[in-house]
């Protein structure tokens, strides 16, 4: 997810730990789904519970990133916030273009949850070019 060079600050350490924990949960739930653990779910309530369960680690990882900003010094906070905002803007722009492509140009459907990996892809593209908080 997020790399800050050779940073070993306590805030960055907590971020790495939290991200690994949430992503481990994410992988575990999805592997269980792939191997059919949830194939017998029939009721809408249970289906939504599963959707929330799969989403929870993603929400947790977003919280971990926001916590990194809150717990870091002013430079790291400003830099990560700037990268986060630019990546969010780019991801929303791409998702909007594709969404209208689906509506008007018969583009193949992409599930809405793809916004999350798309956001981190955008973050990865933007971060090397944003090294100043100014």
């Amino acid at each position: 997810m997020l790399a800050l060079g050779k940073s070993t600050s306590p805030a960055h350490g907590r971020y790495v730990f939290r991200t690994l924990a949430f992503m481990s949960g994410y992988v575990a739930v999805n592997v269980a789904a792939i191997f059919g653990a949830f194939d017998d779910i029939a009721s809408p309530v249970a289906a939504w519970a599963l959707a929330l369960t799969v989403s929870a680690p993603v929400i947790g990882q977003i919280w971990a990133t926001l916590s990194l900003m809150r717990e870091s010094d002013e430079f790291v906070r400003a830099l990560v916030a700037k990268q986060f905002i630019l990546a969010s803007g780019l991801a929303m722009a791409l998702a909007s273009v594709w969404g209208f492509g689906e509506s008007y140009a018969a583009a193949p459907h992409i599930p809405a949850w793809m916004i999350y990996p798309l956001f981190w892809a955008c973050f990865g593209v933007i971060a090397p070019f944003v090294k100043s908080s100014n």
């Binding site: 800050l4 060079g5 940073s7 600050s9 870091s72 010094d73 002013e74 430079f75 790291v76 400003a78 830099l79 090294k131 100043s132 908080s133 100014n134």
Partner: protein, 65 residues
């Protein structure tokens, strides 16, 4: 923002890591200040001024002066 932070740090023989510890910020923050990639908050500028026992404007150029 132009500044004399690196000069003052080197005069005292401190590393960026040591200065960061004295100020309560990361080494990256010190590097960003020295390379003008971060304008310090008023709070951090005053902390730096106290540490080096100099007025803020002797360390950071006032771009509006």
């Amino acid at each position: 923002m132009k500044n004399r932070l690196k000069l003052l740090r080197v005069e005292r023989g401190w590393t960026q890591e040591q200065l960061g510890q004295a100020l309560g910020v990361s080494r990256q923050a010190v590097n960003a200040l020295e390379t003008e990639k971060h304008d310090p908050s008023l709070d951090l500028a005053y902390r730096i001024a106290v540490l080096f026992a100099r007025p803020v404007e002797e360390i950071f150029d006032n771009p509006h002066a």
